[in-house]
């Protein structure tokens, strides 16, 4: 583990370096407070620090205050080294943001024991961050497929619509549905259905670029958004993605299953800036058309020309049987 030693006095610094190296630490050594802050501000900088109280440029308490003002970086456990002994000074040091203090000259065993306390605190922090990240992932991702969930995909789509309108670019929105998925569940069971959904999700995610995004819209429906997509190539790209599922059978515990998908596609550039619900309704209509045309195909939602009447109100999903 990396540890920072900041002391302007060479003899004490060397003594510390050696004691810490013997204890198995990777020592980063500096001579003043400014250099200490620079080291502690690095992304992969030390997370344990021994700071002398009196130093040129910036003293130990000032370094502690500066480190504590940041909120975005990982926690740094800081121990102030002091030959100052009064209670007032101890309080001042701890109030500046130090976690602990050691009086010079230090006792090697005490130094190591206090640093082990620091390591325990850092380990605890790592576990908390890991748990928070895990919860954040669960809040934004579908548990079965690990794709973005509906809420997260709506947020991203909203941002993408604003961005593509602002930059006068077009994004492609695809609503994708697995054909006859109900039959898989009914004949082979839900666990095979789950296997199918996991594999479809994997193939869809593998067929897009890193800056596109794929989410599970619900049931066997997925949403794919291709950012900054040239309208001339959008249908071709969507077909490639669609065929990434149908070209090869899906291996399941009950044997290989050949499946197809139906896609509805919409190019945001053709529609201008419209509410997300309206665009989703239009792309859903296109998907419905693909199902009505015999499935295993792609239909595009074009905006009506002035002579055409507007599209009918959406049929609620619950009464649409397009499986």
């Amino acid at each position: 583990m990396k540890i920072l030693v900041a002391d302007d006095e060479t003899l004490s610094r060397r003594l510390l370096e050696k004691a810490l190296e013997r204890a198995g630490y990777e020592v980063v050594s500096v001579e003043n407070g400014k250099q200490a802050l620079e080291q502690l501000s690095k992304l992969d900088g030390p997370r344990l620090a021994l700071l002398d109280w009196v130093m040129p440029e910036m003293d130990g308490p000032a370094v502690c205050r500066a480190v504590r003002m940041r909120s975005e970086q990982a926690y740094v456990y800081m121990v102030l080294l002091t030959s100052k002994g009064s209670k007032e000074e101890t309080v001042l040091g701890l109030e500046s943001g130090a976690d602990d203090y050691l009086t010079k000259p230090f006792n090697t065993e005490e130094l190591r024991a206090r640093l082990r306390v620091g390591e325990r605190i850092l380990l605890l922090e790592d576990r908390l961050v890991e748990a928070r990240e895990h919860m954040r992932f669960r809040a934004t991702h579908d548990q079965l497929t690990s794709l973005l969930n509906r809420g997260a995909v709506m947020d991203l789509l909203n941002r993408e619509l604003q961005r593509s309108h602002r930059e006068q670019k077009s994004a492609a929105v695809i609503l994708a549905d697995v054909d006859h998925f109900k039959r898989v569940n009914d004949t082979l069971g839900h666990s095979v259905g789950d296997e199918v959904l996991i594999e479809v999700a994997k193939r869809l995610a593998g067929a897009v670029r890193t800056y596109d995004f794929v989410g599970r819209y619900g049931g066997e429906e997925f949403i794919v958004v291709l950012s900054n997509c040239d309208p001339n190539y959008a249908a071709g790209r969507a077909e490639e993605i669609r065929k990434s599922v149908s070209n090869h059978a899906i291996q399941t515990a009950r044997g290989p299953i050949a499946l197809t998908m139906s896609f509805g596609l919409l190019l945001t550039g053709e529609w201008g800036l419209r509410p997300i619900e309206e665009l989703l309704h239009e792309v859903d209509n296109a998907l419905y058309e693909a199902k009505a045309a015999g499935r295993n195909c792609l239909k595009i939602a074009h905006p009506p020309t002035k002579a055409e009447p507007p599209s009918p109100a959406p049929v609620p999903q619950s009464v649409r049987l397009r499986n």
Binding site: E9, L11, R14, K18, A19, D52, S83, K104, N107, T108
Partner: protein, 124 residues
């Protein structure tokens, strides 16, 4: 060479204290003594100049540095003299600084021969 008849409290340098601090690493101990022999005289000269001005802020900082190196070395008496000087300088007691400096010099003068004696002893 250190006079064996000298008691521990009479000695300017507590070798055992430093040896324990370096886990009896003789090589490190010699390295630290070499650092001290280079840094101590130059810091003393800077301190003397600061007192002559008088610049109590610099005098306080330099006394603090000396106190740190002396206490790390195990030179308790000299560290106490540096601590006294630091306290006086921090209070701006410029009139007392020269006398306190002279005391620190005396402690330094009794410390250096002990270090030299040890160095020549381990070289043999």
């Amino acid at each position: 060479m250190t006079n064996p008849k000298q008691t521990l409290s009479e000695r300017a340098w507590n070798h055992a204290e430093l040896a324990e601090r370096v886990d009896n690493d003789e090589e490190l101990l010699r390295e630290l003594l070499t650092i001290f022999k280079e840094d101590f005289p130059s810091t003393m000269r800077s301190l003397e100049s600061a007192i002559a001005v008088p610049d109590s802020k610099s005098a306080s900082r330099l006394s603090h540095t000396l106190k740190g190196m002396l206490s790390s070395l195990g030179a308790g008496r000299a560290a106490a003299a540096a601590s006294k000087l630091e306290g006086l300088a921090a209070l701006g007691e410029n009139a007392s600084l020269k006398e306190a400096f002279a005391e620190l010099e005396r402690e330094g003068a009794s410390l250096l021969p002990e270090l030299d004696a040890y160095m020549s002893e381990v070289r043999r």
